[in-house]
Amino acid sequence: MTSPAVRLTGVSKHFGPVAANRDITLSVAPGSIHGLLGENGAGKSTLMKILFGMIHADSGAIEVGGAPVSFRSSADALAAGIGMVQQHFSLIPTFTVVENLVMGRGATGWFSRWLRPLDVKTARERAVGLSERFGFGLDPDARCGTLSVGARQKVEILKALWGGATTLVLDEPTAALSPPEAEELYLVLERLRSEGTTIILISHKLPEIVRLCDRVTVLRDGTVVGDREIDDEARTDARARAGLEADLVRLMIGRERPETPSRSARALDTVLEVRGLGDGGRFGPVDLDVAGGEIVAVVGVEGNGQSELIDLLIGASPTRTGSIELDGRPLQGLSTRRRLDSGIAHIPEDRHERAIADDLSLTDNASFGFIDGAPFAPTRFWLGKRARVRFTEILIERRRVRASSPAAPIGSLSGGNQQKLVVGRELARAPRLMIAAQPTRGLDIASTTAVHEALVGLRDRGSAVLLVSLDLTEVFTIADRIVVVRGGRIVGETSTGAADVDRIGAWMSGAEERTAAA
């Protein structure tokens, strides 16, 4: 028996009073894909960062290829053949793809590091080579900030492989990918495995774990609660598969999988009416109607106009052509504040960028958009605090946010709990139209269900919901109608009941048009 590619023994890590990892032992067979499952905050990323040398464990041992190692930094881990794709992008937006790839890896030795020009040419060739090998089609000189999320994820993978890693850690790599993109990634991972690379995959998506992994370890509250072999039977046989998934869910959350909300659409009057909408650039013209009591999902490969559509709807970018009407009242020309007041709510896609301010308290974060006028600001010179605290407590209760106190900075909460507060805040606007962009990205199963419940509840009370999502499972679970965007236009539309995944995939990738043209 060969020694495991990676073995962690008795690893513990505390952050202040929080035990993120407790006495974890994990062994990964070489050339396998090993899944790591667990709810938000279970300690998956922490464990992998310890393996990658970015975090120092309080105790425990690491072996790589049978030999004990001690990593002082990720440089050591990289040198030992471990590459890692972080949960959050660790690319530098202002750098080009090549620069991101070679950064920190270019040269050794005083002279070549400080004086010799960086060999960009060779690096570029290598980048193009690697990119072609996996069919990524990346432009090595593009600035990463201009790339689509999918392309960025690809750069991250190249970066992890750049130094010739034999063990690759991927922390939720598909969270931001559309189904076709995720599919591409699966092929890459399978190919890497067949070439002998060991892969550790963290994910909240059970189907992909089952499809790819040879073995899976489940963490809960910082400890290992179980370990499962995944065989071909589970992959092929639907019953075996359902059984395995249920088993994993139980391990993860300690109870049965929560039920997904039912669908009971009853379309009412049109709430949102968009005609010929364009931003004067590559977006539009777009026509779109969303009725009350309806959830309409906008799907498409990331970067095909979803964020432009949202910005136009909320007034973050000016409407150049066309019109937007909410309950018959035109919105174009109104400021974001006025649009919120007219009944739009918005769960932004990138939580840290646009939905919350990490350093402010939960109370302040819950107050976004509620600070003018009653009930919290009866006059311009008074913004009450006690009422806002009570309001926050109500949100915390209703949305089951796990937080120590309304006064805690929201940055101290786990992502899932931050998201629950944001959802609660937006629901509290009693919106006529809810725009929910990737509302469950990175959330574990329980939190995802909670968000879905909220959106469905809103719909059932007669509001319109515009769901922008990459997660087709989510779309099929809660949406009533699906529109597909590509290149800034709507290229297909179907009711969920009649929807066909392959057809939607074809719309997204543009294959539909190509076949039509042919």
């Binding site: 975090i55 040198a79 972080q86 660790s90 530098i92 950064m103 020009p117 960086l118």
Partner: protein, 306 residues
């Protein structure tokens, strides 16, 4: 008489170099993610050290080395405060400014027994470039500059080369854009920033030494007269890029030289307003064609591993 002579250019260079050097220091530091508004204090340290060492050894070149050592010390202190101890970068820089201004002024009477201004010391001589200094029109340029002036441009080139052409530069800039990303890429963020901040002290100190043993031949309390802040402004103005920022420094130098000299040919214009001219022009330039500026993304944020 014509004010637009080659000696105006020479004067502009003399006024620009003591801004260029600290600007380069600030650029290195900020590109690595540490805001350095302590350039002024570091300059004063360098100016005094240069004179003190020159006074002791009689050799201004050794004095220049002395200034660099003082820059290592002042930059090192800022690095300890901001990088090692993760203190607030603005507060730490302010401390450097206060200590720099106070200590240099206090040391003059302690070392020389007189207040304010030190005795004259040998200064770095200007360099006659054989052949070129005899040229018509531009000749004076090649006899009125010192090796340090050429050195400043060489250093600007070196900074540009290292920051934007080498592996080390990519590492430094990565630290300035996102310490976490740099860390994940295996870059030693703390070591890189420490080095960058220390080197920024050396550059600032050289700028101070330029004033005391190149432009002049003595140290005077407070002789930097806000050039450290001006360097900071030039750096931001130049959007944290080497050549645009050097150009801004040269423009400041030229505008200053022009404001000073235009009094000679046009004494009727209120000179206080003439002297404000460089700054007004800068504002106009900023308002019209310079526009949006954004700092390296990680500037001001201390970095700590979990």
């Amino acid at each position: 008489m014509d004010i637009f002579s080659i000696s105006l250019v020479l004067s502009a260079i003399h006024l620009a170099v003591p801004i260029i050097l600290p600007m380069l220091g600030g650029l290195i530091s900020e590109r690595s993610g540490v805001m350095n508004i302590g350039l002024e204090g570091m300059m004063l340290g360098g100016a005094l050290s240069a004179v003190a060492i020159t006074f002791l050894t009689g050799d201004p070149w050794v004095g220049l080395v002395g200034a660099m050592i003082s820059g290592v010390v002042s930059g090192g202190i800022l690095a300890v405060l901001t990088v090692t101890l993760r203190g607030n970068q603005v507060v730490a820089s302010t401390a450097i400014n206060l200590i720099g201004a106070g200590l240099t002024a206090a040391l003059v009477p302690i070392i020389w027994g007189i207040d304010g201004t030190t005795p004259s010391v040998p200064k770095i001589p200007s360099l006659e470039v054989p052949g070129l200094s005899g040229l018509p029109v531009v000749g004076p340029l090649f006899s009125g500059l010192t090796l340090v002036d050429y050195g400043a441009i060489a250093l600007a080139f070196a900074v540009w080369w290292v920051l934007f052409r080498t592996d080390a530069g990519l590492r430094i800039r990565a630290c300035g854009e996102s310490a976490e990303s740099a860390d994940a890429a295996g870059i030693a963020v703390v070591r890189t920033r420490f080095l960058a901040v220390t080197v920024s002290g050396v550059f600032a100190a050289l700028g101070g030494a330029y004033l005391s043993i190149v432009a002049l031949d003595a140290f005077q309390a407070g002789m930097t007269q806000g050039r450290g802040y001006l360097a900071l402004a030039a750096l931001v103005f130049g959007k944290w890029r080497v050549w645009p920022a050097v150009a801004v420094c040269l423009a400041f130098g030229l505008a200053d030289a022009f404001a000073l000299r235009s009094q000679i040919v046009a004494p009727q214009i209120p000179h206080d307003l003439l002297l404000a001219l460089p700054y007004i022009l800068a504002l106009v330039a900023l308002a019209t064609f310079v526009g949006r500026t954004s700092a390296p993304a990680a500037v001001g944020k201390p970095f700590a591993r979990a």
